[in-house]
Symmetry: C2
Subunit: 306 residues, 2 copies
């Protein structure tokens, strides 16, 4: 395959490609809708729930259902004949982490050579370790991805074309990464609305994401599981509402994400517990100067790293 | 004094009263602006910085400067002659907690009988204990107040008339509270935009506010004071930005608020530390079912108490 075929002369993923999307939930559904709104690519889609595929076809979000063989029995019979995975130039996988690995492993032989495969799971080390080298051996181009654009809702019904507008897409690079495939991914995601593409290693992703994404979800839940929460009606401040927003989450998905990144997450939670203890000590001492210093340090950090 | 004189036939604080505002920062400035926009009351104002008073007069936010005697030397000389505290039917004090108590103590003899005095500090037990009984002895009506409408900015320059729109105003009631004065306060605050008036005791206020307002400010600072924060650029999620928003705070004010509510705040921080430790234990055990249960509990709490 000619690597440059994925690139058009414009700085965008070529518009005449076929993109398959596996999993039409909040992320996959939004990817399909964003591709339809922003590009002229042919969009194929698959979901474990055949009704979702029917709906996406009826809404014109998909050009055709993606027929998957093997364990899959949810092929949808519609006017448009279902298409094959082998027709895809790029496959976007929007499944939970374990299902992502399972899916790719079960379909290695169904991708055509040169296909760019990008996943969207919120942890990367396990997935990239499993898939990156194996893909390269098969002349497939795997890129680990993480769209940092979650909302507190799940499923196709909540998906929308502008979910990614202004957001950050993280792409993981390792020694097996094909640079043209990476560039094509970057262009595709920029083309559907992402403002920023961050390229990093899977290990670095997981370490930092434990702090910026997983820890806020732990804290939101831990915060609101207080007995005092039951008495807060009429005392609720914006800060409380903002901090606890993500306590409303998809618990099976987050359980999987947390467990796949246990060591990093434990370190971050323990770090926060230690820092919280500093405030307790200063309060117990009643030391106003120390409290001023702690708060000033937090304020400065927010200005620099917020 | 006829208690009902404060009430008009409409369910609003009578529009022909004189309201004095002490402290023209974010809250006091916004109170003055909101009174001008929403009512026909005469608005008098004082600030330790005479330039702020000049500006408010020039902008038509104040009808006259409030001349304060004694330690105060910041009386502003303008075309409109300064007015006296004794002209006020209601005095709103928008100072830090200690300054609030100091101000009222220094001016007991300057208020006319029947004046409703309302403070705006974020802690209430100390202030109400100091001022409520003493006010009643002097035929003055003190009501402890807390507008739950902070933003991450301070000072008159950031004040605006709609700061309170849709917000919650907490008013504290004790055995010395005059019910007509409380009703007048309720009407005034409803009239300038507050959606909800919560009436509670000072002790209950401080206990719940340690959780809903003070703890989020501690957590935001403790969160962002992580070493990992320095590496988060390009990995920043909405949840991280929301959680750390209030790390940018007015540190002298929050130091005073925290210190005045130490016992409640320590209890809340320790409660959160304990709950965070549960997540660490479940992660260490690798127990997915327990993690699902923790997350489901947090989600349910958010739905019920969010």
């Amino acid at each position: 395959m000619d690597d440059t075929a994925l690139l058009s002369s414009k700085p965008t993923f070529a518009d005449d490609k076929t993109v398959g999307i596996v999993g039409l939930g909040l992320i996959g559904g939004s990817l399909a809708k964003a591709l339809k709104v922003n590009t002229a690519n042919r969009v194929l889609g698959h979901d474990i729930n055949p009704n979702v595929v029917k709906q996406a076809l009826a809404e014109g979000v998909l050009d055709a259902a993606l027929a998957l063989s093997g364990t899959d029995s949810s092929t949808v019979q519609t006017a448009a004949p279902p298409a094959q995975l082998s027709e895809c130039d790029m496959v976007l996988i929007a499944l939970y982490p374990e299902a992502t690995v399972d899916f790719v492993r079960a379909h290695w032989d169904k991708f055509k050579k040169g296909t760019v495969i990008i996943d969207c799971a919120g942890v990367k080390a396990e997935i990239c370790t499993e898939l990156s080298a194996e893909a390269a051996k098969r002349d497939l181009y795997f890129v680990g991805g993480h769209p940092m654009t979650g909302i507190e809702r799940t499923g196709y019904d909540h998906s929308f074309a502008h979910l990614f507008s202004g957001g950050t897409m993280i792409l993981c690079r390792d020694e097996h990464t094909n640079i043209i495939a990476l560039k094509a991914a970057e262009m595709l995601f920029t083309g559907i609305g992402f403002l920023k593409i961050t390229i990093t290693s899977a290990a670095e992703h997981d370490r930092v994401i434990a702090f910026t994404s997983q820890l806020p979800h732990v804290v939101a839940g831990a915060f609101i599981r207080s007995e005092t929460a039951k008495q807060q009606l009429g005392f609720s401040a914006g800060s409380y509402q903002d901090l606890t927003r993500v306590a409303f989450l998809n618990e099976p998905m987050w359980t999987e994400l947390f467990m796949a990144n246990r060591e990093n997450l434990i370190e971050e939670i323990e770090g926060l517990r230690t820092r919280l203890e500093e405030y307790v000590q200063v309060l117990e001492e009643g030391d106003e100067q120390k409290m001023l210093a702690l708060l000033a340090e937090g304020k400065q950090a927010k200005q620099q790293y917020g």
